[in-house]
Symmetry: C2
C-alpha cells in the first residue's frame, strides 16, 4: 500500500499553524486521498458559478456542503443540501448554504462550498478512529444509521490493524448478516471495506495528532466502499510520556523480584499482630530457603533472624525489600534500597493515591526511577511465588504448587484467590497483588510469566490498564503460548463509577476493552467465580486438537442442559460418523438415544460407561468429551469416578490426551467423586451442567485465538 | 372494542367450503376491517378500467397486487407493482400482473387485482399470530425489515392480550428505541400500534381456524398504524382434545396424592436392592406416619408391614399407589387401583414412551381416565413431601423441611436437586419427578402448591410443556402469590434436539417460551445451578419494598464487581440522599469512598461494619442491601458473620425486614462464616460477587412481575 505521508503532514501543519482543532472538509478530503481512502468525486467552489461548473463536471445528482473551519457539525448548521439534479438547483443551493452558515455563526470563516457527487444504494457503515487513554489509537467499525445509534453495534481494533483483523471486524457485528446481503440486496465487497479500515488505522497511527476521525457514512456496495463524509479532530500536544523499560530490563528485574535469593523486610516487627511480624512469619513458615533480613532500628533479632538498622548494613546482595512501614516513611527509606541496588520494593502500605495522596505516590515513583528500583504496589497484600516457597505477604501463607499465576488489583479479590485456591486445592505458581500499580503492572508480570517454566496459565483481575497498549502487545505474544484469563472489573457504567472511586483509575470504555482483549487472544471472564474456575480448569485440560465435541451422558436430562451450555459457550457438537454412531449403539441399550449427545441411559452398569468412554477416547475424530453422570445404585458415584480415572489414565499411557469435563448430578456422594476426579486431573463438577462446559469453552476460545485449531 | 364476528365467520365459511387453506387478499382485507385493523384504502378490480377508476377514487400513488386464492407468495409470483402514479401506469400494471400470474401458475384462479393506496414514511413493523403446539394462539410483534430478518428482534404474547401487555411488547425489542424515534424521525403512536396488536390477538383467539396471520409490513407513524399487507392461513381441523379437569377436581386429587393418609406399594419387595424394597424402606425410615400397605402376591409381610395380594384387599381407603412393577404389567393392575378409588398412581417404572412404547403409555392413560385415577410419571424417581415425612421414592430419603417445592422432568436433575439440597441444607417442602408427564404435569403441581401453606417458592425443571396454555394460566395466577422459578431445558436448537431424543418431547420455540414465561411472572433460570440457587435463596429473602439497592463493602474491588453484577441483573443502585451520604461519611474513614457503593475500606474494626449496616437497615429509603465483606485480621470472617446476624436479628425484632445478600471474599474461613449466616437466614456466598446479586435480582424480577413494586 502506498501512503502519501507528505501531503498529510502538510495539511496538518497548516491546521496547526492556524491554531485550529479540526480539519475543513477539503482538508479532510486531501488527507483521505493521500491515504487512498476512497471518497466521491468532489471539489471546492468559491462561487455559485464555480459550483455549477464543478457539478456539471462531476455529474448530477450532487450534494453541496458548507466548507468552514468554524463549522464542525454541518447538519446542525443546515450546511448540507442533497439530491441536487440541475444547475439551477446548485446555484440556489450555494446561496442558501452561505446564508444558513451566516445565520448559524455570523463570524465563521467561510471557505466556500464543497460540491460532491451524491451516492446512493449500498449499505451505510461507519469507520472511525479515536484515541483511548489506555490503548492509544483504536479504529472502529460499525453498521450505520439505526444499527449504530440504537444497538450500538460497533467493534474496535488497535491501530494499525491488518487486513485479516479488519475482515474479522466485519463478522463481529450483531448485524453482520447485513454486510453479506439480506432481503435480496447483494452483499458488500468485504475486501474493499477491510482495506478502507486498514488505511484509516494506518493514518491515525502514522499521525498521532489526529485525535478523532469519523467517516460517517461510508457507502459499502458490491463494488467498493466510499467515505461520503469525513470529520477529523486534531490535538498537537505531545502524548503523555510512558515509562517503558526494554523487555530485557523488565525480565532481569522481574526475575530477581519474583525469584529472589535474598529478601529484606523493612519494618520487620517482633510484635505479633503487626504486618511486619506477619510478613516475617510467612517468609519463615512458608519455607523460603533464601536469606531473610529483618530491618529494625533497635531489635537484635526477630523470629531468630538477626536484624539490621538499614539495608545498607546487610553484607550480601538483596533482591527485594518488603515495605511494612507507614506510607509517609517510604520516601525516606527508598533511596537506601536504591543505593543497595535492590531490584524491587514491595510496597504493602496503603495511604497513597487510593486515599488521595497522589503527590506522595509520585514522589516514591520518582525516587524509584532515579535508582532503577521497580515498585510493586503500593496498597497491596504482597505476593506469593510457590516454586520458591515464597510468601512475601502479611496474609495467610499459601504453598500448594501448581502452574497457575494469578494477580489482582484489589486486596479483596486477592484474598478470594487465596481462599478459593486453598478450598479447591488449586495449585498455583504465583499470586500477586498489584494495588495502585504505581510501577509494576500486568505487562511486567506477563513478561515474567511468559518465560517462567512453573507457570502455564495466567489469570488477572484488572480494574484498569494504565498502559493498555503495552499490555496488548505483550498479551498478544504471550497468549500464543499460555492462556491468559482476564476479569475486567468495571464492565458496566455503574461498575466503572465504583472503580473510579475505588482506585482513582479511569475505567476505559468497555467495548474497546472487549474488542482489544479478544484481539489479543485473552480469555475474558465475566465474573470472579468464572476467573477462578477458568484458572483452576485450564491448567488441567489438554489442548483440543479439533472442534468435535461429544457429550456422553447417563442422564438424558443432563444431555439437554449440556447441549444448551455448548451453544452458550460456542462449542460444536460433532455429527457422529455412521461407524462411530454404530459403535455407540452397540454399547447403549436399544432405547438409549444415539446421535450426540449419546444417551447411555441411567440404568446401566459401570461397564457400559467404561466401554462408551473408551470408544470416545480411542476415536481420533472425537476431540473433546463432556460426560454427564447420573447417580444410580448400579453405578454409584465413586465407582464412576474410579472407572473414569482408570480409563483416562490408560488412554494417557497410550499417548491419548483429550480435554474431558464431567458434570455429576446426584446425592451428596457426587461431591467426593468430583474431588477424587479433580485429584486425578479430570475436571468434574457437582450439581451443575454449565460450569464444566464453560471451562471447556474457555479452553477452546484460547486454542482458537492462539491459532492451535 | 367492537368486533364484527359475523363477517369473519362468513369469510371463513366461504374459504372452508372452497376447500382452501389461505385467504385471498380481499378476504383478508374484509377480516381486518371486521376487527377494526386499519388497512389502506383499497378495492378489488376485475378489469383494467376498474383498476384505474379505483385508483382515481383512492388517490395516487397506488400499489397493485394480484388477487388469487392460488398465489400466496405474491412477490415470488411478481404479483405486486408499487409506486403507480397515473392512470396509464395502472392500466399497464393490470395487464402485467395478470401476465405474470399466468406465467407463474398457468392454472391459478385469478380473482382480479387489488388496488391499494401506497403508504410511505413511518416505521415498518410486523404483527403476526401463530398457533404454537404447546401455547396455542400467540401474537407476535417485531420491527420490520432488517431488524426482524437479521436480528430476529421479535416478541410474543398469549392471545388474546391486553393493551398494557401490547404496550409492554413495544418496549421489549432490542430496537425499541426506533419506535420512540431516532435520527430526528418522530416516534410512532404507541397506543394505535398496541390497539392493532390487541385486535389481531382477539381475532385469532375468536377464530381458532386462523392458524397463521401475518401483517407485514405494518406502517407505524406518529398518527397511527396501518397493515399494508395481510396474509392468513387457515386450518379447519378441530384442535386436539386436552384433558383438563376443573381446578376443584385437580385440587381434590392433588391433595390426596401429595398428602396421602394411606399408601399402597404395588410390587413391594422383601429383597434388598429392588426398587420395591427401597420404596418401602424410604417410606418407613423417612418417618411417614400414615398407613403403608405393601402389595405382593405371596409375601406375608415386608419390613414388618402386612402384605396384601391386591389393593382391593386393603380394608380402609388408600390415597396413592406407588408402582414398582415392570411397565408391561401396569395396565393389568391399574383397574384395581381405579376400583379402589385411589386418587393417584405413582408410576416409577420406565419402559413407556421414552423407549418408544407409546401405545403402552396411551393404554395406561386410557385406563386411568376411565377410573379417574391421576398418574404421576411414568419413568420417575417418585416424590418427596416433607410436611408429611413422605419419601415416596426409591432414591435416598430427604427430610429437611423448608418452603421450596421443586419438580423435575428428568431423573438426573431430580438427583441433583436432592444432592444440592442436602449439601446446602436447603429446606424443601416437596421434590417431584414428572418424567414422561403422561397425566400430572406442572400446572397440576402449581395448583396444589398455590394453596399449600408449606410451600412459598416453586422451582421447576421443564423440558417441554405439554399444555403450555394451561401452565401459563395457572402460573400467571400463582406467581402473584409465590415466586415460580423455571429452568427451561432445550433453550437452544442443539438442546432442543437432545430433548427430543430424550423424552420425545417437542421443545417449543424458545422465543415463545421466553416471552410467555415473562408474561406469566415466572423467573426463568438459565442454568441448573441458577435454578437451585434461586430456589434456595428466594425463600430466605423478604420481598423488597422498593428499587433502592445499596452496596456496602469492605473491599473496594468487590464493590466494583458487585456494581457490574447489579447492572447484569437489572438492579438499581440508589443515589444516596445527602443526609444518608453524610451519615455514612461519619462512619467510614475519610479516604473511604462514599456514594454507592459505600466503601468502608478493609482496615476497619467490627464496629464500623456494625454501624454502617445499622444505618442502612434503619433508613427506610434503602430497600435492599448487598454486603461485600473482605477478610481481614481486624474483622475476621466469623466475627463479621456474628455481628451481621446480630444486627439483622435486632432489626427483625423491630419489624425491619429487608432483603440482604452478602459476598464474602477471603481465606477458607469465609466458608464457615457463610454457613453460619445461611443458618441464620442471611444469604451469604464465598468467593463470588455475582451469585448473591443474581439471587437478589431474581427476587426483584418476581416482585416486579407480581406487581409488588
Amino acid at each position: 500500500m502506498h501512503y502519501d505521508g507528505d501531503t498529510v503532514r502538510a495539511v496538518l501543519e497548516e491546521v496547526r499553524r492556524a491554531g485550529r482543532s479540526a480539519l475543513t472538509p477539503p482538508e479532510a478530503q486531501r488527507v483521505c486521498a493521500a491515504y487512498g481512502i476512497p471518497t466521491p468525486p468532489q471539489g471546492l467552489a468559491t462561487s455559485a458559478a464555480e459550483a455549477v461548473r464543478l457539478a456539471q463536471d462531476i455529474g448530477f445528482p450532487v450534494v453541496l456542503k458548507i466548507a468552514s473551519p468554524d463549522i464542525l457539525h454541518k447538519t446542525e448548521a443546515r450546511g448540507v443540501l442533497t439530491g441536487l439534479t440541475s444547475a439551477a438547483e446548485v446555484e440556489r443551493a450555494y446561496a442558501t448554504l452561505l446564508a444558513n452558515a451566516r445565520a448559524y455563526k455570523p463570524d465563521a470563516t467561510l471557505l466556500g462550498v464543497q460540491v460532491q457527487r451524491m451516492l446512493s444504494g449500498g449499505q451505510e457503515v461507519i469507520v472511525g478512529a479515536t484515541t483511548d487513554p489506555s490503548f492509544g489509537k483504536v479504529v472502529a467499525f460499525g453498521l450505520g444509521g439505526i444499527f449504530v445509534e440504537v444497538l450500538q453495534d460497533v467493534t474496535f481494533r488497535l491501530a494499525p490493524t491488518t487486513p485479516q483483523e479488519a475482515l474479522a471486524m466485519l463478522d463481529e457485528l450483531a448485524g453482520a448478516a447485513v454486510l453479506r446481503g439480506v432481503r435480496g440486496t447483494p452483499g458488500v465487497q468485504r475486501e474493499a471495506l477491510a482495506d478502507l479500515i486498514v488505511r484509516v488505522s494506518q493514518l491515525v497511527h502514522d499521525f498521532p495528532a489526529i485525535r478523532e476521525l469519523d467517516l460517517n457514512p461510508v457507502f459499502a456496495t458490491p463494488e467498493g466502499a466510499t467515505a461520503v463524509d469525513a470529520r477529523m479532530v486534531v490535538d498537537f500536544s505531545p502524548p503523555p510520556d510512558r515509562y517503558r523499560p526494554s523487555q530485557e530490563e523488565i525480565l532481569r528485574a522481574m526475575r530477581r523480584i519474583m525469584q529472589p535469593e535474598a529478601v529484606a523486610v523493612i519494618g520487620a516487627s517482633p510484635e505479633e499482630g503487626k504486618i511486619g511480624h506477619a510478613v516475617m512469619q510467612n517468609l519463615i513458615n512458608g519455607g523460603y530457603a533464601g536469606q531473610i533480613y529483618p530491618i529494625h532500628p533497635r531489635a537484635e533479632a526477630i523470629l531468630g533472624r538477626p536484624c539490621y538498622k538499614s539495608v545498607l548494613d546487610i553484607p550480601g546482595p538483596v533482591d527485594i525489600a518488603i515495605f511494612c512501614i507507614p506510607a509517609r516513611l517510604v520516601p525516606q527509606v527508598l533511596p537506601e534500597v536504591g543505593q543497595k541496588q535492590i531490584a524491587g520494593a514491595i510496597l504493602i502500605p496503603s495511604g497513597f493515591a487510593e486515599v488521595g495522596e497522589v503527590a506522595l505516590q509520585q514522589e516514591v515513583v520518582r525516587i524509584a526511577r532515579q535508582y532503577n528500583v521497580r515498585l510493586m504496589g503500593p496498597n497491596i497484600y504482597g505476593f506469593y511465588y510457590t516454586p520458591k516457597n515464597l510468601c512475601a505477604t502479611f496474609c495467610t501463607p499459601y504453598t500448594e504448587r501448581g502452574s497457575v499465576a494469578l494477580s489482582s488489583q484489589s486486596g479483596g479479590v486477592g484474598m478470594a484467590i487465596v481462599g478459593f485456591s486453598r478450598s479447591t486445592k488449586m495449585g498455583v505458581s504465583a499470586i500477586v497483588g498489584l494495588g495502585n500499580k504505581s510501577d509494576i503492572d500486568e505487562d511486567d508480570l506477563l513478561t515474567f510469566f511468559e518465560q517462567d517454566p512453573h507457570t502455564q496459565v495466567i489469570a488477572m483481575h484488572v480494574e484498569d490498564l494504565k498502559d493498555g497498549r503495552a499490555f496488548a502487545e505483550v498479551a498478544q505474544r504471550v497468549s500464543k503460548k499460555k492462556p491468559i484469563v482476564v476479569l475486567k472489573a468495571g464492565r458496566t457504567a455503574l461498575g466503572a463509577r465504583a472503580a473510579r472511586s475505588h482506585t482513582g483509575a479511569l475505567a476505559g470504555n468497555d467495548r474497546i476493552y472487549d474488542a482489544v482483549l479478544r484481539q489479543c487472544g485473552v480469555i475474558r471472564a465475566l465474573s470472579l467465580n468464572d476467573m477462578l474456575e477458568f484458572a483452576r480448569g485450564l491448567q488441567v485440560l489438554p489442548t483440543p486438537k479439533g472442534e468435535n465435541v461429544l457429550i456422553l451422558t447417563g442422564a438424558g436430562g443432563s444431555g439437554v442442559l449440556l447441549s444448551d451450555a455448548c451453544v452458550d459457550h460456542g462449542l460444536q457438537l460433532m455429527t457422529l460418523p455412521p461407524d462411530l454412531d454404530a459403535a455407540f449403539r452397540e454399547i447403549i441399550p436399544p432405547f438409549g438415544a444415539a446421535g450426540n449427545p449419546v444417551d447411555i441411559t441411567g440404568g446401566e452398569p459401570p461397564t457400559t460407561y467404561r466401554r462408551a468412554i473408551t470408544v470416545a477416547l480411542n476415536d481420533a475424530r472425537v476431540h473433546a468429551l463432556i460426560l454427564g453422570y447420573w447417580h444410580t445404585i448400579i453405578t454409584p458415584p465413586m465407582v464412576f469416578a474410579t472407572l473414569l480415572s482408570e480409563v483416562v489414565e490408560e488412554a494417557r499411557q497410550r499417548g491419548i490426551h483429550k480435554p474431558i469435563v464431567a458434570s455429576l448430578v446426584g446425592d451428596v456422594e457426587v461431591e467426593a467423586a468430583c474431588q477424587y476426579l479433580m485429584a486425578h486431573h479430570i475436571l468434574a463438577y457437582p450439581y451443575t451442567t454449565e460450569k464444566p462446559v464453560a471451562v471447556l469453552g474457555a479452553k477452546y476460545r484460547w486454542a482458537r485465538a492462539a491459532g492451535l485449531l
